[in-house]
Amino acid sequence: MNDDGHSMLAPASDAASSIATLWWLMLGIAGAVFVLVIGLYGYAALRRRGDAASDDDDPASMRRAQRLVLLGGGVVPAVILVGMTALTIVTLDRLLTEHHGSEADVEVIGHQFWWEIRYLGSGAVTANELHLPVGRPTRVRLRTADVIHSFWVPRLHGKMDMTPGRTTELVLHPREAGTYRGFCGEFCGLQHSLMGLLVIAQPPDRFAEWQQAQARPAEVSTDARVAIGADVFARADCGLCHAVRGGARSTPPADVGPDLTHVASRRTLGSATVPNTVQHLRQWIIDPHRLKPGVRMPATRLPDEELDALVAYLESLR
């Protein structure tokens, strides 16, 4: 699943840029300190001395040495660190100003091992794919349905934890359109590793279109095979965990697994693990553990024709 990168050193928002700037400044300072200290040590260890090296401990020279130690090891570092603390505060302040304000736009809920995404205004619900408008801040409210997760999209912002009993917030404000990969930043169990997500930043009009489409209930196709597939979906108890909003066979809201109302419109399966192709969808239903060991979804044994129909049904959910 190709994306447009996921390095904090290639920031795509002002927030990520100010953190990257902080890093480069700190790297410069730290690099200079490192070179200086190692250089001094190298010289001290290797310099050639006359045989009559000073082994004397006359109090005056000892005091002079101690003063230099206090200056080099105490005062200078303290001054540098005060500077770095100031940089920290300035950057923190810049990041937090965006946080003052209105209600959240989106809620992202961490699950073992996927992301539920709810657009609070429109009622659109999706999973593992967070669409954002470019050039406008989106307030994201974060919480968890089970254990602690941490929401991290390095190109847009630092990470923020999702802890039971607490909600946290991030403001994401992408500058340019693109697909940015995100990760779970807190160890959350067996499949912490492949708990990814894609953030898709789009021009505002494209985003609005997308959001409208996602908010709509599922469209019921008249295709016979799709109808059989919908039947299989119900009989195989898929609806116990997955919701499909609207349509002839509207299932009660369930959020154990991702909402599938528009599953076919998503780019990936298994939390940004594999591209969303018919082949992968089949594999995923038969044995999700082959693609993603430890995932919470059980394997489903189905006769081939029923599987084909189920896949056709899911593929119709655009």
Binding site: G73, I89, L92, S150, T163, P164, E169, F187, H192
Partner: protein, 638 residues
């Protein structure tokens, strides 16, 4: 013994023979189990810790192998999670702390001129607790049911609902149990340093290594209890259904994080401080001059000890706590670099003014400076809250703390190994092999861990068992894994050097390095009673100083043994200025410490299985304590 002060008459053969008899033990299996002498117990600590280091190292190598390329299947996620949990737990609890305490137990009495530690039986007890706890934890791992929620065991992932197996129960009980050993050793170290120093070794003459151990031990007393409480709460939540961390019933998972890091942050400095003490010893001896800034180094260590208790929030910057608090903890976390900086410059000045002799121990110290300064600087960076938001729990942090912990503890440990090996074993290590191994370890270490900084900034989280090929992390991971094998090769060379030097190295004189502290005033290896005559100290560097000042009181009877009624005796002195105060009579070999450790093991480890074991263990514990502590009747006294 130039240190012994006024010319004393050398102890007679009769006295030596009596000392030999009273401090020795039976050469038998039971005799071995009942040994309480500090060097016997300390050697066990160090050997056991070394075995755990090898186990933790093997886990690390398997972990690195699994991560060499995307999508490898060396380990599945279940096994991988157990591997990294055990790696962290082993290195922190079963290797680093016991190893540092073991080195202290071995060296402190030798450095302060005592014949043993203050409570020799307690020492033995601590060792058995450590052994039983470590072995029990590893049993769970070897049967494939090890703990798998990380060494930090965040709830609710480590709670019963998400970790229903017994792996976490094993972790909770054995770690609680293990803390007992660490705490017992800490009390032992504090009291020994306070009370048993040689006459004249006032606080301003205490060797820096002993100072570092003292500060470490005091920190342990304050830092470990919150962890004991936290693991007790987690155990109760898991096994009896309480709700300390259950949000649904008024609990709070973040409480666990506070308690864990209130312990966990000082823990890092607990491991670091004695290592700094080793560095001070090695720098002094190999710069061949008196240390510059003795008082500054002592004050820095005390400052680090204090400050380290005020930084724990920097492990929790991403929890979403109020911003005001974050800024305070960011500033505090940065400022702890100052006392470290002072020490770095003290050693620099000492080397600068001295005549450095670039033997293996000093090479490891220079390697330490390189790696530790780099790790310290990235530590300052992660204290910057916004940057931490990016790299927290990423491989950047993995790189950072391996620079700090391997750089800050393992490099000094290896320096100390090469430095004190002749004293402990009586043979010198091969210098050429030592240098070769150093360079391989140094280069291997940097190849392993330097690329991880970059990987972290490119988004690679910690504690992932695999990653997708399209992340582009494969190349740097491959480099890192290759480095891990090189590092392993270097460490194996060190091990080989230890093995062959112990068997056939050149035999060592009492003071092969022309070192300054008391342990070098006696034979290598030292006799079982350490000092035939308690030394008297008039200087910070006793072996480098001339005779006693004229106004020093003359002490006699320093061989301190009653030939009529020989007992184990050492001299107790006053706390600050080390004036002779009393004779401390120490106990001989006994099996009770082992019995008590086994009883407490039944109580603590049995609590996982059934409450009946708690009752049985409690009764056994009381019996063992009575057996241990029962004083003789007055009539039975001679």
């Amino acid at each position: 013994m130039s240190a012994a002060g006024p010319a004393a008459i050398a102890p007679s053969d009769a006295i030596r023979a009596a000392l030999e008899r009273v401090w020795g033990r039976e050469r038998s299996f039971v005799g071995a189990l009942s040994a309480v002498n500090h060097r016997a117990v300390a050697t066990r600590y160090m050997v056991t810790a070394a075995v755990f280091f090898v186990l933790g190292g093997i886990q690390a190598l398997v972990i690195r192998t699994q991560l060499a390329q995307p999508g490898l299947e060396v380990l599945g996620p279940e096994a991988y999670n157990q591997f990294f949990t055990m790696h962290g737990t082993t290195m922190m609890f079963l290797f680093a702390v016991p190893m540092m305490e073991g080195i202290g137990m071995y060296l402190i009495p030798l450095m302060i001129g005592a014949r043993d530690m203050a409570f020799p039986r307690l020492n033995a007890f601590g060792y058995w607790v450590y052994l039983f706890a470590g072995v029990t934890l590893y049993l769970s791992f070897f049967v494939g049911n090890g703990p798998d929620s990380g060494w930090f065991n965040y709830v609710p992932l480590a709670g019963k609902s998400f970790a229903s197996g017994s792996g976490i129960d094993f972790w909770v009980t054995t770690i609680t149990f293990l803390e007992v050993a660490a705490l017992v050793a800490a009390i032992e170290i504090v009291v020994t340093v306070m009370k048993l120093r040689a006459p004249g070794m006032a606080m301003h003459r205490v060797p820096l290594f002993v100072w570092s151990q003292l500060v470490m031990a005091v920190m342990i007393l304050f830092a470990m209890p919150p962890l004991i409480l936290a693991s007790l709460m987690l155990g109760l939540d898991r096994m009896t259904g309480t709700h300390f961390f259950n949000v649904g019933a008024g609990g709070d998972p973040v409480l666990w994080q506070h308690l864990f890091w209130v312990f966990g942050h000082p823990e890092v400095y607990i491991i670091l401080l004695p290592a700094l003490g080793i560095v001070s010893s090695v720098v002094t001896v190999f710069a061949r001059r008196r240390i510059v800034g003795y008082s500054l180094i002592v004050l820095s260590m005390i400052a680090i000890g204090f400050l380290s208790f005020g930084l724990w929030i920097h492990h929790m910057f991403t929890v979403g706590l109020p911003a005001m608090g974050l800024t305070f903890f960011a500033a505090a976390s940065m400022m702890i670099a100052v006392p470290s900086g002072v020490q770095i410059f003290c050693w620099l000045a000492t080397l600068w003014l001295g005549r450095p002799s670039l033997k293996t121990p000093l090479l490891y110290v220079l390697g330490f400076v390189f790696v530790f300064v780099a790790g310290g600087l990235t530590g300052v960076m992660v204290a910057a809250v916004p940057f931490d938001w990016q790299v927290h729990d990423s491989h950047f942090v993995v790189a950072h703390f391996h620079y700090v912990l391997i750089g800050g503890a393992v490099f000094p440990f290896l320096a100390g190994l090469h430095f004190w090996f002749p004293k402990v074993v009586g043979r010198t290590m091969h210098e050429g092999l030592g240098k070769l191994a150093f360079w391989i370890v140094f280069v291997g270490f940097n190849i392993t861990f330097f690329p991880l900084h970059q990987l972290g900034m490119e988004g690679m989280p910690r504690r992932v068992y695999t990653y997708l090929p399209e992340t582009g992390w494969g190349f740097l991971n491959l480099v890192s894994t290759a480095g891990a094998y090189l590092l392993t090769l270097g460490l194996l060379l060190v091990l080989w050097n230890v093995y062959r030097s112990a068997r056939s190295g050149a035999s060592a004189s009492a003071n092969p390095w022309n070192a300054d502290t008391l342990e070098w005033s006696i034979a290598s290896p030292p006799p079982v009673f350490n000092f035939a005559e308690i030394p008297v100290v008039h200087d910070r560097h006793p072996l480098w100083s001339a005779a006693a000042p004229d106004d020093a009181p003359e002490l006699v009877g320093l061989e301190l043994i009653d030939l009529e009624r020989p007992r184990r005796e050492t001299l107790a002195t006053t706390v600050l200025d080390a004036q002779p105060a009393s004779r401390r009579v120490l106990p001989g070999p006994t099996l009770w410490p082992m019995a008590l450790a086994a009883s407490v093991a039944v109580l603590v480890i049995g609590s996982m299985i059934d409450l009946w074991f708690v009752a049985i263990g409690a009764v056994l514990t009381i019996i063992s304590m009575i057996g241990w502590l029962r004083p003789p009747r007055r009539e039975a006294l001679p």
